[in-house]
Symmetry: C2
Subunit: 392 residues, 2 copies
Amino acid sequence: MIHYSSYKYKCFPRKDTKEGNGTIEIMKAAILGFGTVGSGAFEALKSSDDVCVKRVLARHPIEGMEEYVTTDMDDILGDSEIDIVAECIGGEHPALDYVKAAMRSGKHVVTPNKNLVSAHYEELMSLAKECGVQFRFTPTAGGGTPWLFNLQRQARCDEIMSVSGIVNGSCNYILDRMQREGAGFDEILADAQKLGYAEKDPSADIRGFDTQRKCVISANTAFGCSIHEEDVPVFGIDKIRSIDIDHFREKGYTCRLMMNASRIEGTDSISAYVEPVLVPPGELAASVPLNNNLIFLTGRNIGTLAFYGQGAGKMPTGTSLAEDMIDIADRSIPTHKAMENHLTVDNTRVFHRYYMRDGDKIRITNNMTVRDAHAFAAKHAGGFFMAGIMEN
Amino acid sequence: MIHYSSYKYKCFPRKDTKEGNGTIEIMKAAILGFGTVGSGAFEALKSSDDVCVKRVLARHPIEGMEEYVTTDMDDILGDSEIDIVAECIGGEHPALDYVKAAMRSGKHVVTPNKNLVSAHYEELMSLAKECGVQFRFTPTAGGGTPWLFNLQRQARCDEIMSVSGIVNGSCNYILDRMQREGAGFDEILADAQKLGYAEKDPSADIRGFDTQRKCVISANTAFGCSIHEEDVPVFGIDKIRSIDIDHFREKGYTCRLMMNASRIEGTDSISAYVEPVLVPPGELAASVPLNNNLIFLTGRNIGTLAFYGQGAGKMPTGTSLAEDMIDIADRSIPTHKAMENHLTVDNTRVFHRYYMRDGDKIRITNNMTVRDAHAFAAKHAGGFFMAGIMEN
């Protein structure tokens, strides 16, 4: 165990000491919001030797949590003992103001809030750098899957060529059960909502916007750029029907909603898009069950790595957020290498075949560019569904 | 970027500075041995801002490397600028002596040498702790797959319940091609040797001893214990024949050589064993192509995570070793949490069905304990093959 006496951040003696190591210092954190992820992170940190929770911001008192809960954000901002703020409120407001205030108070920030990070990536990365604090958000893409952390770690001595994968557990749950059981979309969506795998309003999941946000965050982390949601064309699974699934099963394909972003060699461009993908048998992505995630990176040195885990849920996501906090206390990999590159999205250089269904009419296209396929899709209404075809 | 001025280890100013960050300090490393992995790590570190190579220990001069190469280990041990020693000699001797001398000289050590780490786990972990240095060995299990690092990271705020997976690329290459193409064992083994996926003497791979070592290292890392190679019963794939593969294909199974180690709840025991496993269709492990690895952990909080990557090769393994060095420079996750637990191996509490073939006679057993199956196998000679059956 490294002794942290020379630690540059403020540290505080803990009552107990670890065998043979003298005084142990531990970082103190505040959790904003005590919903699913916030309470999961609180649970996970109970067994940490490195980070403990001092305050929880909540609107109302919580039984048994009297020593932690405050309703006043200033109690946290003004507490010099608190080094880390974990934003678990969700949404953009007031989360954005709280995160900015925490950074300006010299506190490191972690968050599982993909809406916030995707919409305000540049602003928050710049502010963190300006304030000299760390900003970590591993759970924003992959939930419990240690994806973004490993992507950053790999990028330190490798050139990331592409990122891709299944990052929305709700969609994978629906597609996996449709494919395995032949049950209908609406029936399975209702089950997913009952099980807490899908929101009451599922449109961000099934229309692909959640995957789009995770694509933005992953691409920005991978390539050190700052693309925006509107740069990434998206085609969701809300229009999929049993007739499509029947066709895929017959051909041996498994349908998955995937994000994709790749460097285009010799240019200042990347491709970036979200669409259903027909995965051939024997591919890892075809074997991802229920609401799990599987996310790939390809590096020039390391080849292809993949990370598999639960994409959501109280303890997986809460624990991933806790790991981000412990990384700060352990003084792990710095996060401020992003946004050195000014890259634009160009989907005219990536192409593959597409499955397209208009009403009941199915056709398989020749190779076509992702830009053309998504433009074609945009012109079609309710009865149209398409999926890219992954070649072996 | 965090400024490392308060860094407790010796740091050295680099000539160039990074934009906006003032002086940058960089750690200096020595690489012992300049074979496949050593030269891969050297390549990978060329793009690192955190670690640079100052010396390479080699028996003979290397063209173009005159400024680095020394033939004298004392040049490295006596150089106070060198903070990290990367042992890439392989084998136990003189690697063990060099690693111990480096630790005693106050240098951190990294190594991809699974024979060394598996055989001298306790001694090296204790010495590193005594010397106050870090000892990292992520490439020893998984090659380019960031497995052990993530296992340690997860264990900081989770209880690891089990580890398992495909950790030998040579065996997976043979099994995957036998299964996909129906080609014979000897023919594919010869190909694997030609491609550098298998050693000239392939017995450590195909008889399972390589997987056994990775099981020891993974279990010790996961559970903070110090089990030994002889605690882990092993059954390899050297006795597999086309008749077995034909049977598996007919039943829809895919055969994989896997390590397995699990906590047995309520006891001071773990199960730990290596055997071929018949994987049902639709499982991730069935879809691992060629010489790749796929390694699982299950944590009480995080659920099941899996890590996929190339199990060997110059740049994947060399880059993974470079990442371990950068983790030291970045002051990442401490490594000295191991060996707090005195656990023994008990394979009488784990059971499943087995495929067993004696000569040409195939039978599927009822559930039997792993201990009994391996004891049964030990009594049989050349014509016997068995594989555990994974249930959905």
